[in-house]
């Protein structure tokens, strides 16, 4: 009995030998697809409209707020045990959080995740002007700072000093503590970049107009747009997330080819 089963077992170990490699390849493909999915995150474009700040829109915003936000933030937007008060956060904060789909929040967690936007552009603006009308706070930025024709060199230096430690030098994002992370900045619209800087959403520090002036913010936005548009001089960027993806690539393909060559050189010719 045993003798008859032996050849088939031997055959199985031969195919089994390929299995670890197949797993590694699957993991690599999975990682690349996840990275690609992150890069493909898409944000709606919003334009600053100066005429939006009317009583009609504020009233519409109040209705939308009471229907969609008041459960957590309170009927008067003054906060509950579940969510902070929104008095004084400003229109910019609402435009960023709702305009990128982070609010209404999908679920409790280390930080609010981006998801498809749930309101039309007009509704987002109405919510923003309503919350902006409660108390003074940072407003939706002026369009002159969002054109992307600022000083690239200055923007690059400011980005590396103030932003790159969390968002990665290539703006590809990075990990923070306990499940929090700084998101990649590719695909984020200029107005949302500006609003994030001025309001400091989630755990991002606040960069108000006295710390980084509106012109400097415009420079940073211009630099990020340049970074996104410029081709990578080194070829395939592997997600630009640094030693993790590059190391993995070399471990699998670089070392793999060295091992294969070594085996071929030392094997006897048939």
């Amino acid at each position: 009995m045993r003798k008859t089963t032996q050849p088939s077992r031997r055959g199985r170990t031969k195919t089994g030998r390929r299995h670890p490699l197949a797993t590694v390849a699957l993991i690599a493909i999975g990682l690349m697809m996840t990275g690609g999915a992150y890069a493909a995150i898409n944000a709606g474009t919003a334009t600053a409209d100066t005429d939006i700040n009317t009583q009609v829109n504020i009233d519409e915003g109040a209705k939308l707020f009471q229907a969609n936000c008041a459960t957590c933030h309170g009927m008067e937007a003054d906060g509950t045990v579940d969510a902070p008060s929104l008095v004084g956060v400003g229109a910019a904060s609402v435009d960023f959080q709702v305009g990128t789909g982070r609010m209404p929040m999908q679920m409790q967690g280390p930080q609010a995740q981006q998801k498809p936007v749930q309101f039309t552009d007009l509704q987002v603006k109405q919510l923003a002007v309503y919350v902006g009308s409660l108390a003074p706070g940072p407003g939706i930025p002026d369009a002159q700072y969002l054109t992307g024709d600022g000083d690239l060199a200055n923007g690059g230096e400011l980005f590396r000093i103030n932003c790159a430690m969390c968002h990665n030098v290539a703006a590809a994002g990075g990990a923070l503590t306990q499940g929090k992370f700084a998101p990649p900045l590719a695909g984020v619209s200029a107005v949302h970049k500006y609003e994030a800087m001025v309001t400091g959403p989630q755990n991002m520090p606040v960069f108000n107009d006295l710390v980084i002036t509106p012109t400097e913010k415009s420079d940073i936005i211009s630099y990020l747009q340049h970074l996104e548009a410029a081709p990578s001089a080194g070829g395939f960027g592997l997600g630009s997330i640094g030693p993790v993806s590059e190391g993995l690539f070399l471990w699998i393909f670089g070392l793999g080819s060295i091992v294969a060559l070594t085996i071929w050189i030392t094997a006897r010719s048939n």
Binding site: I161, K180, G200, N203, V206, N208, V211
Partner: protein, 358 residues
């Protein structure tokens, strides 16, 4: 068990071994294995297909010279690519094309040579196995005696052993000869500087204004809102002409504004913050990476290199990771014009451990 597998012949021979060794060695000093592994010797020579089949030999020959021709084509391709895809100044795409095609040509050139040579050696060159016996290292007795004789004669004729004054003065001169080099090389290192003092003090002193990195614009306490964080350098650093990088590496500070209620200052440090504004050294106490990943809700500072975490509300004490000490705090206050100033230098050395640090 083993005897069954090996068959009768092996068990007989190993049985003979037992009786033979048992006579000479005392019991307990030799371990005699009944089923000792036999030296299998070299496997029988197996001819390759290229040895037997003339067609296979021809094919291998074709593969080898094709590879060498491919290598030749690769080299020419690399030259052609260098001319066809020139590097245009200011166009990073041209650099990429140039590098890629020149690199592909050179890869083909080198791999063609290497793979061809290895395949030639493996498939076509003679594959008989031979043993080269190592040559003895020492010379013959006569040669060695002659060498000693030469040395003795040189000693006798020069008087090296006999004229001790000459010998000792020569040795002394040779020993002192390299000393000027030591002095010269010492001159390349910084002079009149105590590294311990350099590591213990930074550009900060009483009254130095906190300024923005990189512009050097002074910062007012009123500039910061709750949740702000500012990268800070001392006043005057932006204008330094020498040692700017060294001074910045020691004096870089992260300024953060928290709710004053969130801060739990250590005894004696109650006056080091100004209205919730705290300043901490940006140099990690582990191996000196810049710690500037500030989370404004959790008040955690994260070091990106080895994931050390510091709690800003509790004097930047370490809450996770390999760092051993809290980040040094810079005592700050405001001057009469409302600008943030340092009360003094850091009260402890910044950065990781060093030899004089307790």
């Amino acid at each position: 068990m083993a005897q069954d597998d090996n068959g009768g012949k092996d068990s007989v021979s190993s049985g003979q071994h037992v009786s033979h060794d048992a006579l000479g060695a005392s019991p307990g000093t030799a371990v005699i294995v009944r089923d000792a592994v036999q030296d299998p010797g070299l496997p029988p020579h197996r001819p390759r297909t290229t040895d037997i089949n003339p067609k296979a030999e021809k094919r291998a020959e074709r593969v080898v010279y094709t590879l060498f021709y491919l290598s030749l084509a690769g080299s020419i391709f690399a030259i052609a690519a260098y001319i066809a895809f020139p590097i245009i100044e200011g166009d990073s795409g041209s650099v990429r094309l140039n590098n890629m095609f020149v690199g592909l040509g050179m890869t083909l050139a080198l791999l063609g040579l290497g793979v061809g040579a290895v395949h030639w050696g493996k498939a076509l060159m003679h594959d008989h196995e031979g043993i080269d016996i190592r040559h003895p290292q020492p010379g013959t007795t006569e040669e060695r005696a002659a060498a000693i004789n030469v040395i003795d004669e040189a000693n006798r004729e020069s008087g090296f052993g006999r004229r001790t004054m000459i010998r000792n003065s020569l040795l002394g001169a040779l020993i002192v000869f390299p000393l000027p080099a030591v002095v010269l090389f010492r001159g390349l290192a910084p002079m009149d500087q105590d590294p311990v003092a350099l590591l213990k003090h930074t550009m900060w002193e009483k009254g130095t204004r906190l300024t923005h990195d990189p512009s050097g614009v002074p910062i007012k306490a009123s500039d910061l809102t709750l949740g702000s964080s500012v990268q800070v350098i001392p006043e005057g650093l932006a204008e330094l002409e020498h040692h700017k990088i060294e001074e910045k590496a020691k004096a870089a500070v992260l300024l953060m504004r928290l709710d004053p209620k969130d801060l739990n200052p250590l005894p004696g440090r109650e006056t080091w913050a100004y209205d919730g504004i705290v300043a901490y050294s940006k140099v990690c106490t582990h191996v000196g990476c810049p710690v500037a990943l500030y989370e404004q809700q959790k008040h955690h500072l994260l070091c990106p290199c080895h994931q050390s975490q510091f709690d800003v509300t509790n004097n930047c004490e370490v809450i996770f990771g390999p760092a051993k000490r809290a980040l040094p705090q810079l005592p700050i206050t405001v001057d009469s014009e409302g600008y943030l100033i340092a009360q003094s230098d850091f009260t402890e050395p910044v950065g990781p451990s060093f030899w004089e640090r307790a």
